[in-house]
Symmetry: D2
Subunit: 144 residues, 4 copies
């Protein structure tokens, strides 16, 4: 049902952090990706809500898939996040990344993170640098 | 040996993400904190290096302790990160946060993340908003 | 034709920088504003294209009108810009600001700057803090 | 007395915006530069204080000189600013830029803007991309 390119699938297969957070890649094509997770007790901070680093990691993962899905290896260089509302245990968070600008090998992505009710939890803007080479080949090179 | 305020200790005790990542709070006084972790296989991404979200989470944790250590509850509102060099499995990463500006209830913090060799891995700048109230009381209110 | 609130008109009337750059406020209602200027020789930098600070100032002006148009005084606290393409002498640049999130008295705005051909020149994200009080009264207080 | 490289001097000579704002380049060597200006009535905004875009432009100018002073042409790609305190007419503002990280052809710069009393007015972080080629040659190519 969902569309995920082979490069995105290969990358997800090797992403230990995404596994640990049980992130699902709902969709990933060149320049666009959606990733989601459910906030568990393990993702909460000292104040009882979802840790800002988890929300950031989800957004960053969506950007990583958007930028690598076309099978041209890329690397995140910078990102910023605005935490807009708190997320709590049990919330399903969905991050959607889209390309907003390209400048040579640098691409700017905007990512929105929303909860089940469609409320904005965070907005994220990041840049990736295209390195060249294939994602599928790169991850295939490494032994398990 | 290390200096950690009661507010910081109480917060760390409740931070499930810090526990999961085995983050240690090396020092935390009002406005300044140092946190560290060792990059494990579980923290690597699809390209075999430490996930950018983990590095961000470490920096964010250091900022959180710096801003709450004085026992005035605060909340992160925005942050940006520049990933400067890759970190790999086995690296010990240390994030040091210091206050660089205050503007009413908003405080700006700079965090540097370095590896064992003292090389800069990332630089982070974030803002926190002081909410008032005690961190110790706030976390003490919640049942385990 | 264009819709500009009294608060926005009062603010524009007093903005010396907007006058110097001959910025026009094309539209300004609470949360949304459009501002434009034509790049002159005086706006070019040492490399012969429009100075990044001018593009930033145009975007910042649009955000300022969006955040003050509803006549609740506000102040910009932070902003970031991505310069996507060069602008050159003679180009007409248009900046459009829209609110993307609110969090207490902090509002996050996204501003796009495009040229006559509709090409993106820069994207900008900033935050304003609502101070309270009336813009019209505040500027009315001051002698010319 | 002050040290300014030939590349920086050539660039400043052609920078129309710096001329308009009467910015002085106090020092510019590869990776480090200091620029200053005095806030005039023309630099004030609708609320009576120095326009945020002017403060940004000063910081951006300092970064531009730091990144081009070594005579390798570079371009600003992204920047963020935190406005910490207001500046008013008559204030002398000084922006000092230093390199904080390099990553291939991308360089990250931190710029502090202070007033005569040494108070921080703004902090700025930006990135430049080295394009290659000589600044002196590039600006020398163009007719007045």
């Amino acid at each position: 049902m969902s569309e995920v390119t082979p490069a995105s699938a290969a990358m997800h297969q090797r992403d230990q952090v995404a596994k640990g957070l049980q992130i699902e890649i709902d969709r990933a094509v060149a320049g666009e990706a959606t990733a989601s997770l459910t906030v568990t007790l393990e993702m909460t901070n000292g104040l009882g809500t979802c840790h800002g680093g988890i929300i950031f990691s989800l957004a960053d993962t969506a950007m990583g898939h958007a930028s690598n899905a076309g099978d041209a290896r890329s690397l995140a260089t910078t990102a910023s996040i605005e935490w807009v509302a708190a997320a709590k245990q049990g919330d399903r968070l969905t991050a959607t990344s889209r390309t907003v600008a390209t400048r040579g090998r640098n691409t700017v992505h905007d990512v929105d993170v929303v909860n089940d009710a469609g409320e904005t939890i965070a907005i994220f803007r990041g840049q990736t640098l295209t390195l060249g080479g294939s994602v599928v080949d790169a991850v295939g090179d490494r032994p398990e």
